[in-house]
Every structure is written in C-alpha cells, then in structure tokens.
C-alpha cells in the first residue's frame, strides 16, 4: 500500500507540474461565457443549458485527460527509461501499475471537483440561488469520474501491450462503443441477421456500459437519481477496473523491459 501511494503521489505531482490542470482555465472561460450568453438569449431554460453544457465539458475534458495521460502512464516511463531505476527497488510491477492508475484517477478527481465547483458558480450566477435538487449534479459528476476511472484502466491495459497510438485508438473506440451498449443489446435480428445480433449482444456484456453513467438529461431537468443506481454504478466501475487492471498487471509482469 505504501508503494502504491508513493507511485500515485508522484503521478499526481507529474500531472500538476506538467501543467495538466491548465484545462481548468479553459473550463472556467467556457462556463463564464456560457453563463453570460445564456442569461441573454434563453428564457426559462438557462439552468438546463448551463448544466448540460457544464457536465458535457467536464466529461469531454476528463475523457481527453484519461485517454491521453492514461496511455502515457506506463509507455512514457518505458520510453524515457525512468522505470528501470524504479523497478530495481522493492516494488512489484502490479504495485507500480495500480499506483499509476490511482495517481491519475486522483488527478482526475481533483480536476473534476474543481470543474464541478465552476459549474455550481455558473449555475448560481444565472439563477442567483442554489436548490437541494442541485445535489444531483454532484452525483452526475461522480458518475463521470467513475466512467473516467474505467477509461484510465482500459488505457493502461492497452498501453501495456501495444503502441501509444493504437492504445489511444482502442481506448477511444471502446469509449464510443460503450456508449451504445443498449442499442447493441436490442439490435433486431431480422434487420442485422441472427448471427450479428447474437455477437453484438455478447459483445455488449464485455464492453464497459457507459450508458448507465450518463445522467445529464435527468439532472438538467431536476429528476432525482435513484440510490440503487449510485450503488450499482459504483460496484460496476470498481469491478470493471479490478478486472481490467488484473489483466494489465498480468501482461505487464511478463513484459521484457528492453
């Protein structure tokens, strides 16, 4: 645990010193611009626009970070040969991997929290008040973070076994595919053919189901999110990450670091 924490803290420090958090400036400008513009052109739907735009931006910026930094977590250490001195210490390879994962997820959590605070400020600006139903926003942000954790785990898995470019393509591809899981499950066999429909159905259970994490519409309209969904998504993300990281650890522990 001590080793994992040390690697995680260093990963966070790297992100901060590489000025990764500068994206927050972009987000702040976007929210400020949107809040001012929305107040002028939309009547009655200001908060829906602000919430939808804010959550989409949090998700998109987080996704870019998760994929691009996630893919480089291990490959950068190997390319720059910083990993040699590290693995010569009493550190197991899986500890290194989990530490890297935890470090980036922590970075994303800090980043997402800061963006969520910006979203609340923008909401307060257009409505001049905050309501208890706004707590749903926090749940939506939490779901985004869970989704990003799965993306980081996938990016790590791919970067342990293939090139950075392919890892980016695979991770982004899985994210897109995972956003259409329901459609894959309900694909009609009379349209796609029985074999394709069966393959798609099986595949949909292997792919990460990101649709369950998308609650932007409900939150924007003030619909409460069921507690069961919070529990389900938490367990799902934890289990999915554990399985993917186990796979990554098995691959990485057998890899020759030439």
């Amino acid at each position: 645990m001590k080793n994992i924490a040390a690697v995680a803290l260093n990963t966070f420090r790297e992100a901060v010193r590489d000025r990764v958090m500068y994206n927050l400036v972009f987000f702040a400008l976007l929210m400020m611009g949107a809040a001012i513009l929305v107040g002028q052109i939309s009547i009655g739907i200001e908060e829906i626009v602000i919430v939808s735009l804010g959550l989409s931006a949090i998700s998109f910026i987080g996704l870019l970070m998760a994929v691009f930094i996630g893919v480089g977590l291990v490959s950068k250490e190997m390319d720059k040969r910083t990993i040699y001195a590290l693995l010569a210490k009493p550190v197991r390879r899986w500890e290194f991997l989990v530490g890297k994962f935890a470090g980036l997820v922590f970075t994303l959590a800090v980043n997402t929290t800061a963006m969520a605070a910006g979203l609340f400020l923008a909401l307060f600006y257009v409505r001049h008040s905050l309501q208890p139903s706004d707590l749903g926003l926090l749940v939506a942000v939490y779901f985004i973070l869970l989704k990003l954790a799965i993306v980081v785990a996938l990016a790590l898995l791919f970067s342990c076994s293939t090139t950075s470019l392919l890892s980016i393509l695979y991770s982004a591809g899985l994210y897109i595919a995972g956003s259409f899981v329901q459609q894959m499950r309900t694909l009609r066999s009379d349209l796609a053919g029985p074999t394709t429909a069966a393959i798609m159905r099986w595949l949909s259970y292997l792919l990460p189901n990101f649709e369950n994490f998308s609650v932007t519409g409900s939150v924007a309209h003030g619909v409460a999110i069921p507690r069961a969904l919070i529990l389900q998504n938490t367990l799902y993300a934890a289990l999915y990450c554990a399985v993917v990281l186990t796979g990554a650890a098995i691959i990485f522990s057998r890899r020759n670091l030439k």
Binding site: K2, R81, T82, Y84, P90, K258
Partner: protein
C-alpha cells in the same frame, strides 16, 4: 550448522546457463541470441567488472539480474535469492545505463521518492537524501529540476539512488559513461569506498583502465558469450605483448639512415623523436640495430594491448573456432 555456513558463504551473484533470446521477423520465427549460457559467480565483497564491446551482452546480463527482462533459459540468484523475488531488491542498488529520471522533479525529490520504497522514517529519509547529494557532489544543485541537469549530473543522481539504501550488492551499468575526467575520478572513488565498506560491486564497462584500477576480477563477454574470467592482469596478458622504443637520431645520421637502418621505415616520427613498436622477442635485435646506427634511446616500454585489440583477438579466435567446427562438421 553446515547449511548456515554455506548460506553465509553463498556468492553475491550466481548465474547458471543464463540465456536470452529475442524473437524477431515474421511471426517471431527467427531468434537473436543476446546472451548464451552465462555461468558466473561473483563472490561477496568482490569488485567484478563485466567487460565487452558495445552490444556484447553486458546490459542484457545486468537487466536479467535486475529482473527487468526474463531469461529464455537458465537462472540467476542474487544474495542467495532468485531474481524474481522482489525482496531481493532491498539489498541491491542499481544504476541503469545512461540513467534518466523524472525531469519534473529535483534531485532531492527523486531521491526522496525512491527512498519511500524502503522502510525508512521520514527523518532518516531526509538525512539520507542530503548525505547522498553531498556524496555525489550535488548538494548545491539538489533543488534544481532534473530537466536542467547535464548528462554527467544525471549520472551522479543515478549513482546516489543506487547506494541510497546502503545495499550489500551494487550493480552499475556503464557508471563512467558520459562523465568528464573529474566525474570519472569521483565515481572511481565512490566505488573504492564501497569496496572498502565490504560491498560487492558488479559494473560493466568497455574502458579497460577503469577495470584494471578497480576490479578484483573481470569477465569478458563477446558476442553474447563469456570468453574469459580472471584478474585484469591475467586478461591483458592473454594477448601478445609489444614493446615501444622511443629514440632520436643526430641529423647527420638521418641522411644515410634509410639504407643503414631498415627499421626506420617502420618508425613514426614526431619532431625529433621516433617511435618504433616491435614484438617482445625482437626487442634486443632492434636495440642493437639502433645502437649501431648511432641512435639515442630515449625510452623502452611495454605496450599493453588495448581492450579493442584484446576484443579483436577474442573475436578472431571465436570466428576461427566456429570455422574449424564447420569444416570438421563437413
């Protein structure tokens, strides 16, 4: 009781038939052998030099020992433990070849980061980091980010992290590479200091004087095979010695020297001095000729073969042996 004594006397490094092959080509059907059947023992307290030209298999050997790559066959034990035992690393320090560290950290931070993987208290960690920075001459540069460090300074950081935890066995991959003469001297001093402290040291190099100065024994690897193990003086002595004669000639003698002194054609001239290299057996005959021609002998010295010559000697022997095996096979 006997078992305990044997354990205590176990070699610091022990390899048996260590082999590493890399598959390549279509479907990885072809194989390139980087290291072939390395069987080696490095005793506790010994300074052992792994010599060989670039691409000989030195780094492959070290990476196998550090469990960074895995053997195709054979096995190795360090401090009595198999290389895949992560606890083995508590007693081992490692300097990678051309080390590179996190450039967003300072030297003090990178050492502190590595120290966290050992069971030191926070105060002990800080004290060690400062002590190591001082030891490698970086105490004033400790707060500068590593992206601003020169190659030589990074090498010093690498050395500091390798000995940070006071390891029993120190493995250094090309520790002198990239260092200026002052830096090389400092690294040599650190290695000697570690030797006096009873540590076992294995380091790779292709610079023979470093090995001669520091090593109790050396092993020479050429073409992925261990070609010989022994004390540096023995290794150098394997190749035939030559003698170097420095002499000068009076200007009157030089005019007719070409005919009177056939040896002059083989000598190289620098200013008023001539340098002649002859085989050890031909020394007295050459000196006799020079005396007869009225030359003034300035010095006579033994020419130690360079490492390159020694490698060429080994490579030639290796090829001749392979050719002989091929012919006898036919």
């Amino acid at each position: 009781m006997l078992v305990n004594n044997d354990t205590m006397r176990a070699p610091a490094i022990e390899t048996e038939n260590l082999t590493k092959e890399y598959p390549y080509g279509f479907l990885h059907l072809k194989k390139k052998t980087s290291l072939e059947g390395l069987t080696l023992q490095v005793e506790t307290g010994e300074v052992f030099g792994l010599l060989g030209p670039n691409g000989a298999g030195k780094s492959t050997t070290i990476k196998l020992l550090m469990n960074l790559i895995f053997p195709t066959s054979g096995h190795a034990r360090l401090l009595g433990k198999p290389t895949d035992d992560v606890e083995m690393h508590r007693g081992i320090g490692y300097l990678p070849e051309q080390p590179y560290f996190y450039d967003y950290l300072t030297a003090a931070e990178v050492l502190d980061y590595f120290a966290k993987f050992f069971d030191f208290t926070t105060a002990d960690r800080k004290e060690r980091v400062q002590r190591m920075l001082k030891k490698v001459g970086l105490e004033t540069a400790g707060k500068i980010q590593l992206r601003k460090y020169s190659k030589g300074m990074l090498q010093r950081v690498g050395l500091a992290q390798a000995i940070l935890h006071d390891p029993q066995l120190v493995i250094l991959d090309e520790p002198m590479s990239g260092l200026d003469p002052v830096g090389r001297r400092e690294v040599r001093d650190i290695i000697l200091e570690l030797k006096h402290a009873g540590k076992t040291i294995l380091f790779s190099t292709h610079i023979l004087p470093d090995a001669e100065m520091l090593c109790d024994r050396v092993g020479v690897i050429v073409g992925g095979k261990l070609q010989g193990v022994g004390a540096p003086s023995e290794i150098v002595g394997i190749a035939a010695h030559k003698m170097e004669i420095l002499f000068s000639l009076a200007s009157a003698v030089v005019e007719g020297a070409a005919t009177n002194l056939p040896l002059l054609a083989k000598a190289t001239r620098t200013g008023e001095r001539y340098r002649l290299e002859v085989a050890e057996d031909d020394l007295y005959a050459a000196l006799g000729q020079l005396r007869d021609a009225g030359a003034k002998i300035l010095s006579v010295a033994q020419v130690k073969p360079s490492l390159e010559e020694y490698f060429m000697h080994l490579v030639a022997a290796d090829r001749a042996q392979a050719a002989a095996v091929e012919v006898s096979g036919k």
